[in-house]
């Protein structure tokens, strides 16, 4: 994995470009003219109060919802009416806010399923067990074990996903996403429910993923994690961009403070 990292990181430029993205649910405007772009190799944070539209944005990006207006370009190509499986095949993988593992399958099987989109064996191969199919199966399992080790749960491979601890489930979900060989990995609140130690380990893991050449888009509530990890941050409120930039600058932005804490009644009484 790390062998190909330098080449990818050297490839500067934009990996994802979102323009004028809007999404309505009946009368509720969930996203309104959202625009941002993510550079290859960065960790891009997406924050905002509850109900700001972060998860909706994720769902539009990954093809679960279709936008009402606006465009998404991934690696320069327009994503026109994509389906979730197409998105994964193109190289965007995601995790879910409320973990969605294949709960009754083993951790290893979960990751092996992630390899589906990068492997080819069909019915005939499966039935005849051709040499090629067997080789592919072995490669799938090898890669899955590598990924379990990569996220640090190699010893949990044979356990059922639902028997893993909360933190390990989050890690497993990341391993499963990585199995699809994404170039952009979108994580929806990866640190939710984690304790301080787990958060620290998560931070290391995300740093390693980035160092190995995968661009990251992260929704996160833990401000310290976001500030310590992200290169740039986009703040959404009521489905609109309210600020974008480096974490330090964002932290001092009055609109951000207002979104999170409400408007200051008088000077200095805010944050």
């Amino acid at each position: 994995m790390s062998a190909e990292a330098p080449a990818r990181r050297a490839d500067a430029g934009t990996i994802l470009e979102v323009e004028g993205l809007s999404k309505r649910f009946g009368g509720l405007v969930a996203l309104s003219e959202v625009h941002f772009s993510i550079r290859r190799g960065e960790i891009y944070g997406l924050i905002g109060p509850n109900g700001a539209g972060k998860t909706t944005l994720f769902n539009v990006l990954t093809g679960i919802y279709r936008q009402d207006a606006g465009s998404i370009r991934f690696e320069g190509a327009l994503l026109a009416h994509p389906t979730p499986d197409r998105i994964a095949a193109l190289g965007i993988a995601r995790t879910f806010q409320n973990i969605r593992l294949f709960a009754n399958l083993s951790a290893l099987e979960n990751v092996m399923i992630g390899r589906h989109v990068r492997t080819h064996a069909g019915v005939v191969g499966a039935i005849l067990r051709t040499r090629r199919t067997r080789a592919e199966e072995a490669a799938i399992e090898r890669r899955a074990r590598e990924l379990l080790a990569y996220v640090g749960i190699e010893k949990r491979g044979n356990e059922l996903a639902r028997h893993l601890s909360y933190g390990d489930q989050r890690r497993l979900e990341i391993a499963r996403s990585l199995a699809t060989d994404p170039r952009l990995l979108a994580l929806d609140e990866p640190a939710a429910g984690m304790n301080a130690t787990e958060k620290l380990e998560l931070r290391k893991l995300l740093g390693a993923i980035r160092a190995d050449g995968t661009t990251l888009l992260i929704i996160e509530h833990d401000v310290r994690l976001v500030m310590g990890l992200c290169d740039r941050v986009l703040v959404l409120d009521y489905g609109r961009n309210i600020a974008e930039g480096e974490p330090r600058a964002i932290q001092r932005d009055p609109r951000v403070i207002e979104a999170y804490l409400g408007k200051a009644p008088e000077r200095g009484a805010g944050a």
């Binding site: 990954t62 679960i64 389906t83 979730p84 499986d85 998105i87 994964a88 095949a89 993988a93 995601r94 879910f96 969605r100 593992l101 294949f102 709960a103 009754n104 399958l105 099987e109 092996m112 399923i113 992630g114 390899r115 589906h116 989109v117 990068r118 492997t119 064996a121 069909g122 019915v123 191969g125 499966a126 039935i127 067990r129 199919t133 592919e136 199966e137 799938i140 059922l160 639902r162 499963r176 996403s177 199995a179 699809t180």
Partner: protein
């Protein structure tokens, strides 16, 4: 269930014991029809029916057990296979193709019907899909019943008869052959033929389950949205399950035609779909051995009851109080209810299915 299971896995670890087991099972399966023939040829015929149902159930198992799609009209594919065979090997059109040509054609035709049904309907979930498939099953039956005019395709309710029996290397499956001092009746020959097919279908089922395709089906059953987000084209995968299940149904239907020599739409009623589904569910959805057990039990139990209900009543009360047919279905229904209460995941549940049933939904 711990003890025999441990013993089994212990045996599995010893390769010699495994081979001894395989040889023993094979020998008893080979000797079975001659033993049964002593009790009456009817029992051999019932055994053939059981194997035929096992073939059908294994086909449906791909759809219901592996991919988790509830199909209540599965018998339609059986019907399509049966009629394909009948039309291509009977005096009806005076076409007489050999079985090795017709069975694949039957599979292909059934597969086509599977895709035709699946393409528009597989967006539906659970109950809705079940209702559409149920309707499809009925539509096929009604078509078979009525396609005698203006062009006589199916001969309507009268059905098609004098269907050619299978010939393998000059051996006619329609008559008795003497070999090595043993009389191989047509029924016994069909038994061996079906047995070979069953082995093939078992291997196909097991290999599919333990493959990239099988895992994708498992993923869809567990969490469809997550499966899609991992790049699995759920629509194609479901369609594949549907098509494969339909193909197996078509092959089983062809065998049915050849064995019976006569078919009519009456053989493909809704009850048959329900019966095959009951075999899959009772035996253990997703578990190949469970499904076979379900098929064998649900074929044999009603037959055994047919022969025992009346004598037992005579012995108990001196005369037959309730009609054998009524009490047979009553006992049968009771057995099903008890089963579902005691072993809701089936007699031999698949490991994953058992877990799925064990977890309350809100915990998932």
């Amino acid at each position: 269930m711990g003890f025999p299971h441990d013993m089994l896995s212990g045996l599995r670890r010893d390769p010699r014991a495994k081979w001894v087991g395989v040889v023993l099972v094979a020998a008893s399966l080979l000797a079975l029809p001659f033993v049964l023939a002593m009790a009456g040829t009817a029992w051999v015929r019932i055994t053939n029916l059981a194997v035929l149902y096992a073939l059908l159930s294994l086909g449906l198992n791909i759809v219901v057990g592996f991919a988790g799609l509830l199909d209540l009209g599965y018998i339609a594919f059986y019907a399509v296979g049966a009629y394909t065979y009948a039309l291509l090997a009977s005096p009806h059109f005076d076409i007489h193709l050999p079985w090795w040509a017709i069975l694949p054609i039957g599979a292909a035709v059934a597969c086509t019907f599977g895709v035709l049904l699946g393409t528009p309907t597989l967006k539906l979930r659970g109950d809705y899909l079940a209702i559409v498939t149920l309707g499809f099953g009925e539509i096929i039956r009604i078509f078979l019943n009525n396609l005698s005019e203006p062009f006589n395709l199916t001969n309507g309710p009268k059905g098609i008869w004098s269907i050619d029996p299978i010939h393998v290397m000059g051996i006619d499956f329609g008559s008795t052959t003497r070999f090595a001092g043993l009389a191989f009746s047509g029924t016994i020959k069909y038994y061996y033929f079906l047995l070979v097919m069953l082995v093939v279908v078992i291997v196909v089922n097991l290999r599919l389950q333990d493959s990239r395709i099988g895992r994708a089906w498992e993923a869809i059953r567990e969490d469809e949205l997550a499966a899609r987000s991992m790049g699995i084209n759920t629509r194609n995968m479901k369609l594949l399950a549907f098509a494969m299940g339909a193909s197996f149904g078509g092959i089983a239907g062809g065998m049915f035609s050849a064995i019976q020599g006569f078919i009519s739409p009456e053989s493909f009623i809704l009850t048959e779909s329900v019966m095959v589904l009951a075999m899959v569910v009772l035996g253990g959805m997703g578990n190949v051995w469970g499904v076979i057990l379900g098929a064998v039990l649900l074929t044999f139990v009603p037959e055994v009851l047919r022969y025992t209900v009346a004598p037992v009543q005579k012995w108990l009360f001196g005369r037959s109080l309730i009609d054998a047919e009524v009490i047979r279905m009553l006992l049968f229904g009771l057995a099903m209810v008890v089963m579902m209460l005691v072993r809701p995941a089936g007699l031999l549940p698949s490991a994953v299915r058992k877990r799925e049933l064990a977890v309350p939904h809100d915990e998932r």
